[in-house]
């Protein structure tokens, strides 16, 4: 009954939606307002104005950098939220969580350990070259985060967490937010507005380092947050 009702309702809702999409400008056409209005400026002036060959990076870090600042705040919020919801008072003495009942297969362990350096190198490449090639801070950071999760799975969280002691982790988690603030405020002091980058003049050489700094911040922060969320859910310390 409930299913049928829901279905009916949704089908009813689909009619205006489908009619509306049929009236939207045709997908893929180069004459769409989405392609003729703002984007030509990005594509033509982008490399010149922002120093990024990758226009997607130009958009997310420069033209609409404030959005990305908001986005790293969202994921930081998620971390705070997970901690706020899940952390329970520390037990007086540490109760050792029983290791998983099924021992980790040595094959898995070997593969993760062998691949780890390559994964790290790949992600670092992604992070620092984000302005000129596909990829960027998030992509790289998430890869490192995934590596940390994989390591936790095969080696146990405690051993993995030793790589990032709590004091360090606390600083790394907000890295993206803080890096944005540092670069943004520097831009504000030097070039007028928050998150401004130089377009010309004597500070032009700062542009790429700044972008890279932000990418590194996003990457490090992303990795730390993804891993910490995993640890918090697993029940060990965030």
């Amino acid at each position: 009954m409930r299913r049928a009702l829901t279905l009916a309702l949704l089908i009813l809702a689909s009619v205006p939606l489908l009619y509306a999409v049929s009236l939207l400008p045709p997908v893929g056409s180069e004459d769409n307002p989405t392609y003729t209005y703002v984007v030509p400026h990005y594509l033509e002036e982008g490399p010149e104005e922002t120093g990024c060959e990758n226009i997607v990076t130009a958009v997310i870090l420069n033209y609409r950098g404030f959005d990305t600042g908001g986005e790293v705040t969202v994921i930081f919020t998620a971390l705070m939220a997970v901690f706020g919801v899940l952390l329970i008072p520390r037990p007086a003495e540490k109760v050792r969580q029983p290791e998983s009942a099924v021992p980790v297969s040595p094959v898995t362990l070997f593969i993760v350990r062998t691949l780890a350096p390559f994964i790290v190198v790949f992600s670092v490449y992604q992070i620092i070259n984000g302005h000129s090639t596909p990829g960027g801070g998030f992509q790289g950071g998430t890869i490192i985060g995934a590596l940390l999760i994989a390591a936790s799975l095969v080696m146990g969280s405690e051993r993995t967490q030793r790589l990032l002691p709590e004091g360090v982790r606390r600083w790394l988690q907000p890295a993206a937010v803080l890096m944005f603030a540092v670069v943004g405020v520097t831009g504000m002091l030097l070039f007028g507005e928050y998150l401004s980058y130089p377009i010309e003049g004597e500070y032009l050489f700062l542009r790429v380092p700044f972008l890279t700094l932000v990418e590194i911040g996003i990457g490090v922060g992303g990795a730390a947050i993804v891993a910490s969320i995993f640890w918090a859910m697993e029940g060990s310390d965030g």
């Binding site: 509306a20 939207l24 392609y35 420069n62 919020t77 952390l87 329970i88 998150l195």
Partner: protein, 494 residues
């Protein structure tokens, strides 16, 4: 652009402050509260400066990264953005209230995260209020929503996680519906800037825009808990820690209304189609919200549950005012955004203090508390009188304007509903006051509890005073809102 980086201070400070909170409070969690209060004081200062600037120089913009719209993101400070004033005021007072409250109500380990989340929530709201870009609006909406969901569940209160999950699912659907609408608008116009959007929407297919408007309305009504999309609200607002309830009820639901106002700003300017169907719907839903919210509230025993349902009624006022689409109606709705925030914060913080001191939350158990905690109870009484709209308190002006608006629009029926709805509301508040003042205590030991700590008492008293003063000096919010509404309605010759 010239001068003044205050917009940055307003938006960025709470985010940085939140980012640093867990670091600073790692060893001593109690420090988090003072840090948050300090950070938010700076934000409040910035808000004050910006509001002063809006009131003296009129609206102005700040271009993030120096990119002019539509290339970059614009922060737009107009009269509706002046809601940062009330956000900061209530946020600051709630934070102050939290200092003592958190110590008692939360596990110590969660305290830093609590304050970080409150800062993020408030910062997100400030961002939402001032941004001039619809996608950026969505980003800030998510910051404040996510922190809101988590804050509901942050105590170990019974069924807190269920309430938070319900809130999260409803909230996420509404966010997605808003994002879908953003997608529609973007596909039609290729721009994300609000001012630009209003211009470019003039010559596009109207039907997809109508669907987008429907999706936006749906999304914002969930956030604002307009009936019948309110089901998440009562549990979430009554279970959250009291200062959070004050923020959620006073401010976060208003974010939905503010979103509606922004949408109307665009639509009135774009003149793309006749809005009367939407207006009529909102008006009716508003009227039903008023009455049903009041009826639900009447049968509640839990004081915070009652306040939560009362929020639904009051949101009904606001939506009715919006739907009337007459000058006074919209003025009344906008003023009620401010005033209801003040009133509801008073009530929730007051209720929080009562629960904190006595440990009871049912009206029956709280009997006689008026003698034990005279100041808090008096503040709650003032809040109750305000919310019903008895003059000369803050609530009266809103009721008056919305009623005038209804008559102006030739809809006497809605004026009648509004005024009688207020009476319904009074019926349950009088139950509360009777219990506080005119009934012998059910638990004699309640007479021995004293007033709450002074950091909790000050916010309550300040807010209660404001409830009175805003009624008497109703010109202050009005001086902001009237020109804004006149501007907004100008294209339709209102």
């Amino acid at each position: 652009m010239g001068g003044g980086q205050w917009p940055v201070v307003l938006i960025i400070t709470p985010l940085i402050g939140a980012a640093l909170t867990p670091i600073l409070a790692r060893r001593r969690p109690q420090i988090a509260g003072y840090w948050a209060l300090f950070v938010f004081s700076i934000v409040t200062l910035a808000a004050g400066v910006l509001m002063y600037r809006v009131s003296t120089q009129g609206p102005f913009s700040y271009y993030m990264g120096g990119w002019r719209p539509p290339l970059g993101i614009e922060l737009r400070f107009d009269e509706f953005s002046a809601s940062i004033g009330v956000i900061c005021l209530i946020g600051w007072l709630s934070l102050m209230f939290s200092l003592a409250y958190a110590k008692h109500a939360l596990p110590e380990r969660r305290i830093p995260y609590y304050f970080a989340l409150v800062l993020l929530c408030l910062g997100g709201m400030n961002g939402f209020a001032v941004t001039g870009d619809i996608f950026n609006l969505f980003v800030f909406l998510e910051i404040l929503s996510l922190s809101g969901y988590a804050l509901v569940a942050i105590t170990g209160e019974r069924i807190a996680e269920l309430a938070a999950f319900k809130y999260l699912v409803m909230g996420a659907i509404s966010s997605l519906s808003i994002l879908l609408a953003v997608g529609f608008m973007y596909a039609l116009t290729g721009t994300l800037n609000m001012t630009d959007l209003a211009m470019r929407l003039r010559d596009v297919e109207p039907f997809p825009v109508a669907v987008a408007v429907g999706a936006l309305t749906l999304g914002f009504s969930v956030k604002a808990a307009l009936l019948p999309l309110h089901i998440w609200l009562p549990d979430a607002h009554s279970i959250a820690p009291s200062p959070v309830s004050a923020i959620l009820s006073g401010l976060v639901v208003k974010i939905g209304v503010l979103g509606m106002l922004r949408m109307y700003q665009i639509l009135y300017k774009a003149q793309i189609f006749d809005l009367s169907a939407l207006n009529t719907t909102l008006m009716w839903l508003g009227a039903i919200s008023i009455v049903l919210g009041a009826l639900f509230a009447m049968v509640q025993e839990d004081i915070k549950m009652m306040l939560a349902y009362s929020t639904i009624s009051n949101i009904g006022y606001i939506f009715m005012g919006l739907g009337l689409a007459s000058k006074y109606g919209i003025i009344g709705a906008s003023v009620h955004i401010f005033n209801h925030a003040l009133i509801k914060a008073t009530l929730f913080l007051g209720a929080g203090a009562l629960i904190h001191q006595t440990g009871y939350r049912n009206l029956e158990d709280l009997r006689g508390v008026g003698k034990a905690m005279p100041i808090t109870s008096a503040a709650i009484a003032i809040g109750a009188i305000s919310i019903v709209g008895i003059p000369p308190t803050a609530g009266f002006l809103c009721k008056w304007y919305i009623a005038l608006g209804a008559i102006e629009a030739g809809r006497l029926f809605f004026a009648v509903t509004l005024l009688f709805g207020a009476l319904f509301i009074f019926v349950y508040y009088i139950r509360m006051l009777n219990a506080f003042y005119f009934m012998p205590p059910a638990h004699p030991e309640i007479l021995d509890v004293g007033e709450a700590p002074v950091t909790m008492l000050i916010p309550i008293v300040v807010l209660a005073m404001l409830c009175l003063l805003m009624g008497i000096f109703g010109r202050i919010p009005l001086s902001f809102i009237e020109p804004a509404v006149t501007n907004m309605l100008a294209p339709i010759g209102g």
